[in-house]
């Protein structure tokens, strides 16, 4: 009844401080996001890149309708939809197993998922090329006529992308999955439904917002994926929009105008999808975290235990263990040989890391950009989620729309926008540009993750605080923030990894002093120096895992 806007108490300005924060949030978000987009828009009507002699033209937009672009678009959609569905299902299944059942290897699974999260896409692709390319290990070992693996195909792309994206689904669904009140499911059991039916009819529908959220996230992640289709699709003559853009921007003769047009068009489409998703969800989101009986009673798996174990083991093997082994193997040999016993082993790859001053510097840069930048991104994302889902002051729809904009723009195109717009500003060439770029690019990740949890918090929890005499700020700090903690942790993790893995956007705006690890690895990798790329990946993974473990353990005290 009183749900049209949240408590009418917020109809009023709610104090000048809240207003000021809202305005500041709005302006910062607008600046971060509109600047590169405006540059892109400008660029899409030009015949060449800034700095060259260009003229105004509509040709780029007209070219969007060409047969090849449409074909690439359809291919991309097909790949991404299949990937999104299976990644979401996989992520939901895994989070359900870990947080709502008595699955016995919870810690290990979470650790494995967390670790595989660290693998940038091209690492995973590289590992799978080693394993499943026509000349790869599987074919060599198995040597079966009729079962020849060829990872250079659409199926290959989908397979690797699913493995790559499931961790994202896992971490966005984690918060809601943990917080759902068990009594809602128990009501199902009491009504005579077996666990399967309860999952289908109670758990899943209740999780619609988080699931849709996750589905959308996975879809977009898949669409933006560059490294995997580049590694695995191009040899198989499969082209996606991301690789198409890469071609348009990176190789001569470049067609950056068309790239900008494609990027903007993609963003319009995904922006629309997000808008639709929000509309659908507005009618279905039921708070599942109330102040009452917040308890999770894990479901006993019983006989199904073995199946669950097997599935998880399979997933972990495919997405983490085997790629890690492939990585370690590659880092220790001079060049690839399918049979480890015939390989030329060496420490040289590790040695070369330390000989490159640029690489050393990139360690520190990455810490700053990913570690520190993620804090900024998370703060901004939390503020936006809170304003758009709970407070809803005047203009919140605009903020929501703004924050969702970067969702569908591939990293490389955002990088292009940042390059064109920031090149005139004094902060160009500093780490700040990278931070701004990443914060802008990944803002929707933060808002979606936090937002999914915000929606699940029953209003009465906050109202009780107000009724008890705490003003808005105090209520937010003492009640809401602690309750948001799972989502905040997931959100930070998500952002850190996203920043850490980002290659395409950084590639266009980094300079010698602002080189980050992902660029270093990618550069080695792109020049087929997989040995050093693998070695560097392993080193960075070890370091970042240690760091993250420390962070996750730290209690959130505000």
């Amino acid at each position: 009844m009183s749900g049209a806007r949240s408590s009418a108490f917020s109809d009023r300005s709610g104090g000048w401080l809240i207003n000021a924060i809202f305005v500041a949030t709005f302006l910062i978000t607008a600046f971060l996001i509109v600047t590169p987009l405006a540059a892109l828009l400008h660029g899409s009507f030009q015949t060449g890149s800034p700095g060259t002699k260009t003229v105004f033209t509509f040709k780029n937009w007209a070219d969007l309708g060409s047969g090849n672009i449409i074909h690439t678009l359809l291919t991309t959609c097909f790949i991404s939809i299949v990937t999104a569905v299976f990644s979401t299902l996989g992520g939901a299944g895994l989070t359900w197993l870990v947080y709502r059942s008595d699955f016995r290897f919870k810690r290990s699974l979470v650790a494995a998922v967390g670790l595989s999260f660290f693998f940038p896409g091209f690492i995973l692709a590289m590992a799978w090329v080693i394993l499943a390319s026509p000349g790869g290990i599987f074919n060599d070992l198995l040597d079966i006529e009729w079962l020849q693996f060829d990872i250079y195909s659409i199926t290959g792309i989908i397979w690797i992308q699913i493995l790559h994206i499931i961790p994202f689904a896992f971490f966005t669904l984690r918060g809601p999955m943990i917080s759902m009140d068990s009594s809602l499911e128990e009501a199902g059991y009491a009504s005579g439904a077996n666990p399967w039916a309860v999952i289908r009819r109670v758990t899943l529908p209740l999780m619609i917002f988080p699931l849709l959220s996750s589905l959308l996230l996975c879809f977009v992640l898949s669409v933006e994926q560059f490294a995997i289709p580049a590694m695995v699709g191009i040899p198989g003559h499969v082209n996606t929009l991301a690789t198409e853009l890469y071609l348009l921007t990176s190789f001569s003769p470049p067609n950056t105008g068309l790239a900008a047009a494609v990027g903007l068009a993609m963003s319009a489409v995904t922006g629309l999808s997000i808008f639709l998703q929000r509309q659908i969800v507005r009618r279905h989101s039921a708070p599942t975290v109330t102040g009452r009986g917040y308890r999770v009673r894990p479901l006993t798996l019983g006989r199904w235990r073995f199946l669950a174990d097997a599935i998880c083991l399979f997933y972990v093997a495919m997405s983490f263990i085997i790629p890690a082994l492939a990585l370690i193997y590659t880092s220790g040999i001079k060049f690839f040989v399918a049979n480890p016993f015939e390989a030329a082993w060496t420490w040289r790859n590790y040695g070369q890391i330390w000989q490159s001053p640029g690489t050393i510097r990139s360690f520190w840069n990455t810490l700053v950009v990913a570690g520190g930048g993620a804090v900024l991104g998370l703060t901004l994302g939390t503020l936006i989620a809170w304003f758009t889902h709970r407070l809803k002051p005047r203009g919140y729809q605009a903020l929501d729309a703004l924050a969702s904009l970067p969702f569908g723009i591939p990293g490389i195109v955002i990088g292009l926008g940042f390059l064109w717009s920031y090149v005139y500003l004094p902060i160009y060439g500093t780490l700040l540009v990278l931070v701004f770029c990443y914060v802008a690019r990944f803002l929707p990740y933060a808002t979606e993750t936090i937002g999914a949890q915000v929606v699940q918090l029953d209003k009465s929890l906050e109202e009780a605080a107000w009724a008890s005499g705490a003003n808005r700020l105090a209520s937010f700090r003492r009640i809401i923030l602690p309750l948001l903690r799972p989502a905040l942790q997931s959100g930070y993790f998500l952002l850190f990894i996203a920043y850490f893995r980002e290659v395409a956007a950084a590639a266009l705006i980094y300079t010698a002093s602002t080189q980050v690890l992902s660029i270093s690895i990618w550069a080695f990798f792109e020049n087929a120096n997989w040995g050093v790329a693998s070695a560097l990946s392993i080193v960075t993974t070890v370091i970042t895992v240690t760091l993250m473990a420390t962070v996750m353990r730290a209690p959130l005290k505000v």
Partner: protein
Amino acid sequence: MPLARRALLATPFIAAASRAIAQSTDWDKVVDTANKQGHLNLTHNIPPPLGDQWVAEFNKEFPKIAVEATRLGSSELMQRFNTEYPSGASQTDACLTLWDDTLLTWASNGWVKTWKPPEAAAFDPKYVIHDQLFVIQVIRSSLASSKTKVKETEAPKEWTDFFNPKWKDKIGMDPPWRSVAVQQMLAVWHEQGMRDVAQRLKENGVRFFNGSAGVVQALIRGDIWVGAVIEPPVVNAMGDGAPVRVYYPASAVPAIGTPAFVPAKSPNPEAGMVFLNWSMSVKGQQALQDVMGSPVTRPGIGDPKLVPGIAHQKVILSTELLNPEKQKAIVDEWRQVFGLQ
């Protein structure tokens, strides 16, 4: 000989000597200034970690100059400079990249410094463009094959062998839109009378990989058995003992130069000049060749270690054959055939 006559005969030598002395004093000043600047921003497209190795050699001679290197693919490098320089944001003191006609546009725009590095005197004039762009190395295309899958006797030695149906689904290359070097190779094939190349290769099941490095990787792995490659990835692989071999067809060797230049405006101009000059010196050239495996352009440097030198090859440079229209035509045709915009 009477003294006066001797003196007269000696005059040109004295003049030359004094000119040389004057020049070297000027150059010493440049080196001094560079050392005082103590800093060099180098932008290049040399695959890692080779670039660092080469720079390390530079630092042996010029330890006072700290080098910060930005490594970008040649296309991205061109784009970056194209955007940064006119807006005044460029920090580059010296630049090395693959030949692209856009460089000429930059030169005529006045973005590139006109000067005479002392070492340039030793080079063939065709490698010194307007005293602005200095081609210091030549990257060549060749035919590579896997030693484990392809017997020596069957290995492709000529470009036409590449199309042999016995290699169906087992051939690989870097696609032309990725690399000007490949475009040059295709232009050379066209010159030799090969037609409908894209279609024929498509029918033969050609696979594309990320750059020559990707092709070499695929060869080593056994995904493909035969590939069209450029140095240095294949040279490095051979240096490691990987089972690949290369052949440079006798009919023609497509090649592309790597020009170096100093931008007209830069934070440490003298440092850039010193570096460029060093890159053209004997030591610099030798180091470059050792590290990259491709032949350098200074006469007198021996052949590269693992592959033949250019002396006895029919090398065709991209500057002789390619122009933007041809490049576009090639890329368009291939994109058309392989179904890409």
